[in-house]
Subunit: 287 residues, 2 copies
């Protein structure tokens, strides 16, 4: 296999299966025809317009009305078995990162509506005499999603009401026991984006990423039970794991590849797919 296989694995979506889901003029999501049928069968809360695109009924005009409609619809569809589970935590729905939220939706219902979501990921690393080493997390074996798979040192979803950096520093404490005086040194370094498809629907996700250079003596510990163990591995070893296997959670492999490129480990002189990797990591997510 090759690094590029991770890009393809994260960009597996067949967009011809989806119709747009709009709020007003804003294309905030994308839904499959079977989910669209279930939605419109609920009554007049959701409509199909003359362009074959979907949205709220014209009488649903406010954030509160949208939120109430989404709560009722997702609970009804969960009872029908159309939506498998609900999570309880709410994510914001918005068109662009910088827009005000248009409404909130249950975290597990996001892919059914194909709405973009944002998360934060952090590369923790140490510069030793023999080069860069990366802290790699192994996900707890009892996590509901991707148990036991490799992960970036710290990562989390982006909840309502927090700044990205603020959220990152909070996650640093919870997931890896990194004290605030160290976590304050995180450097924002860009995003990685992909268009992933699951049985549930579409996941157009943006990972807002940070690097954190740590002192050699610091040893992380998991405070919230989400990580089984942390290992500090030479960059070449991390690169080989990504190049040869699918041991990392699918999207975390992309964050590692981005790190390998930004720190000069993968280059135009040693990696045949260099240009395709860089563009592939930064997919535009127009729904």
């Amino acid at each position: 296999m090759a690094y590029l296989d991770h890009i393809h694995a994260c960009n597996n979506a067949n967009l011809s299966r989806y119709a747009r889901f709009r709020i007003g003029d804003l294309p905030v999501g994308a839904i499959r025809s079977e989910f669209a049928s279930a939605l419109t069968a609920l009554g007049d809360s959701f409509i199909r317009d003359e362009n074959g695109e979907y949205g709220f009924g014209p009488h649903i005009k406010t954030i509160d009305a949208r939120n109430q409609t989404l709560i009722e619809a997702t609970e009804a569809l969960c009872q029908q078995g159309v939506i498998k589970h609900l999570h309880g935590e709410k994510f914001d729905i918005r068109n662009r990162l910088s827009d005000d939220p248009l409404c909130q939706l249950d975290r597990f219902a996001m892919p059914y509506f194909g709405c973009r979501s944002w998360g934060v990921h952090m590369n923790g690393f140490v510069r030793k005499a023999d080069g860069i080493h990366m802290w790699i997390a192994k996900r707890a074996l009892d996590k509901p999603t991707y148990p036991g798979m490799l992960d970036n040192m710290v990562a989390g979803g982006q909840p309502t009401g927090l700044g990205f950096r603020e959220n990152m520093i909070k996650e640093c404490a919870e997931e890896a026991g990194i004290p605030a005086n160290l976590a304050e040194k995180v450097v924002a370094i860009g995003t990685v984006s992909y268009l992933y498809e699951t049985d549930e629907g579409l996941k157009p996700d943006v990972m807002v990423n940070f690097d954190l250079e740590l002192p050699e003596e610091f040893v992380p510990h998991c405070a919230d039970g989400e990580v089984e163990q942390f290992d500090l591995l030479p960059i070449a070893e991390v690169a080989e794991i990504v190049r040869n296997r699918f041991d990392f959670k699918f999207n975390c492999a992309l964050v590692v590849i981005d790190f390998l490129i930004r720190h000069g480990y993968l280059t135009a002189d040693n990696e045949p797919s260099y240009c395709e990797l860089v563009t592939g990591l930064h997919r535009s997510l127009e729904p």
Copy 2:
């Protein structure tokens, strides 16, 4: 204006005006209908296939034959005034960075055929007590292209036969008088790509980029006459120039924006177009 305006300025191409130019099965370029007419009027060296795409005549099968055909065609079209000038220096034509060259073409004829080309750009910077400062070049006033505009510290086209890092180190010496022992510290950090259109045709370009952290006492000097002066500016001042003006050569502004993002100056918390900037800097260049 906004940072995003630089992305739009570099991605001004209207692809509906172009037909593919192929070598064998490989889509290596894109040409406008008026240039296509001039090419096929030269005889049987260039043909239009049943899909409306263009390529060499079927009897032209080798690199040498393609090179000879391109030399004759570009000279003839230059005499006709279809091609404005020729440069003399040759660039490789290839489908992907890692492919062997399929033939060579005069540097100034590249946009007429819409072939991808690769260059190297370098961000030279100094970490001072009050933060990062960037070395900014001002292009010589007698340069034929973009005289007097601001530029990255070092940049150059990618010629046949050199590695990217090797080319970068060579350009460091020629353009800024950076000795090999300093230039060896360049770190490859990724690419920036864009699809630009001029009167001549299409420029699908990839900049292969490097960072170089320099000691505070080093002062660059231009060895080849291509740079008028170098200035060491605080990162905030460089950011304001890019945000407010088009003083930088069009593609060099993108290399600066990429630097501002990778070094934590522009973030998801302070730049509304953060996600669009990151994806916009890394356009996929399928012709």
